[in-house]
Structures are given as structure tokens and as C-alpha cells.
């Protein structure tokens, strides 16, 4: 187990390194940031001063080392658009994204798991076929289209929900619905597949012959055994939802990290974009690590 943890940690560090190189290259490839930051009429001497201040007159590997060094101390530089330090800016927006992603994953679990169990134990029933097709349909719906339709129906049409911004819980409803549709379909399908497979196992027959109720068998035995892939997927979905929040947050003007990323991209605010790529990537890697390590507690058969 200890070996596995160490190996897995090392692997995460390698991935983090790759991402940091990519984030660094992002700015390097985009041309001379000095040209973008200085007014057109600035003198060459002024440009040189700024270039020196930013460390851009150093060789590329040194620049990378400086970037990582600063990043490790929490210094990601200044946002050009918002004219403030990048990290506190991201820290102030990230909680909103986490709230949105958490609400979406919860909705996906609350709908997807019971539906998956109900259909998995009745393989081939009408409910099963219907739910399979519905799940495929939700997976096929683009989140931005759901968002536009929700705004059209609930926001502009019935005027029961605000069409954008953040505030009370009513602001959370439409973004959550739009963001979670895809996950609802995935969780349903995966839970159904797992449960259907487990229902054929001999321990189910044993449990029945012991006189356990179907409900007890489904919840205590089958669901527990079928939960492995679902839990993995839910954790990975959480990361995907943070990525997907880029689109949904932009539509609903939900001022989270995804919204901030698009603001940064539109304004070509590369220090901000770079830091967001790095921060979101780190969260994603951290989640993956937790899933792999936590898996063992769900499935004691796995030994490292």
C-alpha cells in the first residue's frame, strides 16, 4: 500500500510538471507579452525595462524556473484585465465554481443512482428501455443548448428564475440543471450496468434464500458491490464539471472560475489564463489521486 501511495504521488507530480510546462508554453507561444502590455508609443528603453522586470530577457529554462518558483510561493503575477494579483482573484471566484459543480454532482447522484438501481434490477423492462434511451438523450444534449432553453422557458418566458448572475439559491437552479444533465445520464447508465451485472451473481441467490427482502438485497449487497465504477466516475465527473462550468458560467454570468477563464481569454489576459489552467489542472489531478487512493476502502479486494 505504501509503495502504491508513493508511486501514485510521484505520478501526480509528473503530471503536474507536464501541465506547468504547458501552461508556461502557453504564454511563450502567444508572442511578446510586453507588446501587449505597453502602449504603442512606448519607447524601446521602456520596453527593455519592463522586459527585464518580467524576467523576459532571461533564457527560456530560467524563465520556466522563475515561473515555477513564483507559482510555488503563490505568486502567479498580475492579471492584466482585472489589474490585481492573479491568485487572490482566482481564490475569490473558485468557491462559486465548486458550489455549482457540487450541486450538479449531487443532482446527478440523487437522480442517477436510484434510477440506475431501479432499471438495473428490471433488465429489459419497459422502464429499463425508456430510461436507457432517456439517459442516452441527456448525454447527447449540449449543456449550452439546455442553458439557452432554460433561460427561454423559465427565465424570459415564465419569469420564475433569474437569467444570470449570482446571489440566493434561485440563481443556482438553472446553471445546475444545465451542467448536470450529462452527468445524470452517465451516472444512470453506469449504475444500471453495475447493478444489472451484480444481480446475476450467486450471492444474490444466497441472500434471497436467506429470506432477505429484495430491497435489502438491492441496497445492502448489490448497490455496494456495483458502486465502484460509479464512485470513480462521479469523482472524475466532478473534474469534468469544473471544466464544463466554463460554458455554463459564461451563459449565466455566474462569476466563478470558468467565467473568469473566458473573461481572461477574451481579454488575452495570459497570466490569468495560465494560472487558471494550472489551478484547475491541479484540482483535477488531486481528485484523481483521491479516487485511486480511496478506491481501496470501497473495494477491500483491491490490494496494492
Amino acid at each position: 500500500m505504501a509503495n502504491f501511495v508513493v508511486a501514485r504521488l510521484l505520478q501526480s507530480i509528473v503530471v503536474l510538471f507536464v501541465i506547468s510546462v504547458m501552461a508556461f508554453a502557453l504564454v511563450l507561444l502567444s508572442g511578446d507579452p510586453v507588446t501587449m502590455m505597453m502602449p504603442i508609443h512606448a519607447s524601446d528603453a521602456d520596453r527593455q525595462v519592463l522586459r527585464h522586470e518580467l524576467g523576459l530577457d532571461q533564457p527560456v529554462p530560467v524563465q520556466y524556473a522563475l515561473f515555477v518558483g513564483h507559482a510555488l510561493t503563490g505568486d502567479f503575477g498580475q492579471s492584466i484585465k482585472f489589474n490585481q494579483a492573479v491568485l487572490p482573484l482566482i481564490a475569490s471566484k473558485l468557491p462559486l465554481t465548486l458550489i455549482l459543480a457540487t450541486a450538479s454532482i449531487l443532482l446527478a447522484i440523487v437522480i442517477g443512482v436510484p434510477l440506475g438501481v431501479a432499471t438495473g434490477v428490471r433488465e429489459g423492462s419497459t422502464l429499463d428501455t425508456l430510461s436507457t434511451i432517456l439517459a442516452l438523450l441527456t448525454i447527447s444534449l449540449p449543456s449550452f443548448w439546455i442553458a439557452l432553453m432554460l433561460i427561454l422557458l423559465l427565465g424570459d418566458g415564465l419569469r420564475i428564475l433569474p437569467v444570470g448572475g449570482s446571489g440566493g439559491p434561485q440563481y443556482l437552479i438553472m446553471p445546475t440543471l444545465a451542467l448536470s444533465a450529462h452527468s445524470i445520464g452517465l451516472v444512470t447508465r453506469l449504475t444500471r450496468a453495475g447493478v444489472a451485472e451484480q444481480m446475476h451473481q450467486l450471492y444474490v441467490t444466497t441472500a434471497r434464500s436467506k429470506g432477505l427482502t429484495e430491497r435489502a438485497i438491492q441496497l445492502r449487497h448489490v448497490l455496494r458491490n456495483a458502486s465502484g465504477p460509479t464512485v470513480t466516475m462521479i469523482a472524475l465527473q466532478f473534474g469534468a464539471l469544473i471544466g464544463g462550468s466554463v460554458i455554463v458560467e459564461t451563459i449565466f454570468a455566474w462569476p466563478g472560475a470558468g467565467w473568469l477563464l473566458m473573461e481572461g481569454v477574451t481579454a488575452r489576459d495570459l497570466p490569468l489564463v495560465r494560472a487558471l489552467v494550472l489551478v484547475i489542472g491541479s484540482i483535477f489531478i488531486g481528485l484523481n489521486l483521491l479516487v485511486d487512493l480511496g478506491y481501496r476502502y470501497l473495494d477491500p479486494r483491491i490490494r496494492y
Partner: protein, 298 residues
Amino acid sequence: MTESAVAAPPASIPASTSATAEASRRGRRLPLRGQIGLAMTVVVVLVAIAAPLLAPHPFDDQELSRSLLPPAWLKGADPAYPLGTDYQGRDLLSRVIFGARTSLAVGGAAVVLAGLIGVTLGLLAGFWRGWTDDVLMRLADAQLAFPPIVLAVGVLSVVGPSPTTIVLLLGVMGWVQYARVVRGQTLTLRESEFVTAARAMGASSSRILLRHILPNALGPVLVIAALNMSAMILAEASLSFLGLGVRPPIPAWGSMLSEARDVFAIAWWTAVFPGLAIIWTVFGINLLGDAWRSPFSQ
């Protein structure tokens, strides 16, 4: 513990043979929803091919005087524009029809690129094993450890969007699932007797890989490609919606929805029809891929 270990093998053998029999029986004929999916997909492909014949107007024919005409069945409509017009007065139907070309071309090219990269790397990893395998599979982990849309947005913000960039980006980001499956297949196939036989006859590694292992490993790849196609189409639409994908004047469903954002509150048709086109296409391919996959997965 011992009891279940003894009981397990005899029970699993009949189960798996009946599953195989079932799979081969079903493999001959697609289930109904697979056929529906196939029909939906064929419609999109035909529409894309025949776009210039089907579209009543050129896709870029603007005329502000007919801005935001409603669909034909509503009051104030012009029957020449069956699904209405967008803000710039372009025929929505013609743009939806031509949009099919963009979706299929970008999605298809991205699938082919991802497949080529993935299959090649998967073959090499499974055949050579050792450090090649280690490096490639860790690379795959790294790739999966990153939310693709964030990476895509980051890259596109720097290199600037175009259909070519999108294809390259989606293709390069999408190789992992192909590589994993092909690697698995190759690991099994390289130990099989016909590979040993080929080797004994003096066949070179590349000949064994291309003529013997590759054809046998391709079955699952086609299924992945089908399901991957719908994901690629959705990805292209998402990026185009964010203004980072296919841009005007090329008609793409995602960018049509992006343009609709400013006006859909007063002209719902601008947002509804391009969205329905995406859903029709993606849902059709998903139905087909899903039905097609079931015989393989058992």
C-alpha cells in the same frame, strides 16, 4: 471463502458461453434503437452531402431587411424562409443544412486523427512493452488527468481558432481511449499462435504488427470511433459556441447558437433549430454506437 472459490468457476462458464452466443446472435442484427440511430445518422450524412441541393438559399446570403423573420407557420413569416432567419437575415434552414457539413467534417477528421495516433501508439505500447509501454501509458494518464475543455480554451486563446486548429486539438487530445484498447488487444494477440507462426516464418515486426495484429485489433476501435464521433461533434459545437471554434461565415451549429445568444429572447427559433440539429446528430450516433457496442462488451 473456499466455498465460493470452488463454486465460482462452474457457474461462470455457462454464463459466459450463453453471453457469447447471445452476442453473436445479436451481432447479426442491430436492435431497434440501433436501427433508428443508424437511420438518423444516415439522414445527417445525406443532408451534408446534398447540402447545396437541399438548401433553399446560400448560407451566407445576408439582408438586414429580413432580419429575424419567424418560421413559416407563424404570423409575419415569409414562406421562402421555412425556419425563419437570423439577425443578419440569413436563412436558418440553409445554415442548419450546411452546418451538417461542418460538424461531420470537423468531427470526422478529429476522430480519424485521434484514431491514427491512438492506434499507432497502442500497437507500439502493446507490442514492445517495457519502457515504451510505461511512458505511453503514463502519458495517457497525464492526458486524462486534465479537463479537455480547459486545455482547449487555453490553447485556442493563444493559437487562434480555425477548423484546422480544432481538428488538430481534438485529435491530439482524443487518442487515449484508442491507445488503451488497442494496447490491450495487442498484448493478447502478440501471444497468439498465428503471431508465433508468422514470426517463425521470418516475418518482420512491422509486418506482424500491420498484417497480423492490427486487423484483429480493429473491431473494438470502430465501436470507439462511433461513440467518439458524437463526443467530437459536441466538443466542436461547444468550442464554436464559446467563439473558439469554427467562426462565421462558415456555418456551424455551435457558432449559430453563439450568435443566437443576443437575440433568442425575441427570436427563439435562432436558438432552437441549430440545437435540435446537434441533438439529432449526436443522439443518432449515440444510439447507433451504443447498440453496436453491446455485442462487443459482453
